[in-house]
Symmetry: C2
Subunit: 181 residues, 2 copies
């Protein structure tokens, strides 16, 4: 499902709420690609053609894409790509903080703050698969005391909220039915 009209911009493109609100998505996507390219240049990382293409595919919308969705898109370009091609590019983007894996969906999204070192939390719409990336250091921090108490060393925290986005709630209300697609 495509995002809503990417014309007006009542919400700035970097805002977490952008995923579920009207915003200038062309600018949103272009910024993400440019910032990532710059970060790669600064850090000596090679943003190869395939990697850049996969990032562009993820940037096309705020919906999470499965690795095989990405693979299909690569094949539409005329490549005869096999699964490892998609997975390797996705791994590169995730490891370097330019994309995120959504565990709940086994899927991927472009990062909203590429290059920055951040502790993201995600709001996942179970109806349209769009995902908003929020900063929620408090959520992860809440676990530290308990981890320390039991001697557990935390390396990474996954925080994913599943629910229904404003658009899909509105759609459900119109049809009077459930919140499904």
């Amino acid at each position: 499902m495509p995002d809503r009209a990417p014309v007006a911009a009542p919400v700035p493109a970097g805002d977490p709420a952008a995923a579920f609100a009207r915003h200038d998505h062309a600018r949103c996507a272009a910024t993400a690609r440019e910032v990532t390219a710059r970060a790669c240049a600064e850090r000596g990382l090679r943003l190869t053609e395939i990697r850049a293409r996969v990032l562009a595919i993820l940037c096309e919308s705020h919906a999470a894409l499965g690795a095989y969705d990405v693979l299909d898109r690569l094949r539409e370009d005329g490549r005869k790509a096999q699964p490892p091609v998609a997975y390797r590019a996705l791994d590169f983007l995730v490891v370097n903080g330019f994309a995120h894996r959504i565990e709940r969906l086994n899927a991927y999204i472009a990062c909203g703050h590429p290059g920055d070192d951040h502790a993201p939390a995600f709001m996942i719409c179970r109806s349209c698969r769009r995902v908003a990336e929020c900063a929620a250091p408090a959520a992860a921090a809440a676990l530290s005391p308990q981890a320390a108490a039991m001697g557990f060393e935390i390396e990474r925290v996954v925080v994913e909220a599943e629910g229904v986005c404003p658009d899909c709630r509105a759609s459900a209300r119109e049809t009077g039915g459930e919140t499904g697609a």
Copy 2:
């Protein structure tokens, strides 16, 4: 990897830290099964033979088991079970709050507070796959303001911390090497 010696009980069996500490696991497992059985009786849920068996399998250790691990165990009983048999039993347990799915691992554990309505967070050892279930309402609550601000309706929050448990940290130190198995 089996749990450590289930003899002494420096930690009470219901404690979140039990997953990574010496405790009376026989008692720990028996309690989980009994509480679940009682909750089913009270609520008119049918804890059938297969469901009870799957719960017992999950209760055998604090390590997360994949659906196919559970299936293999069912087959060892002499059943000729197919995947849906395991998935249906696991779904029953998860939906009714007697087990949890660990998204990060695509795997399952028995619930530490079966029947109670709770907002669990998990500490997952990436080395031995054991999982501690903690109560961390603060982690989920930290997302509410942002969700409200963007009109997102949260239905469920996944909080999973990945890291290394005390035992595996100790093992790594002994061998001077990395924290792998």
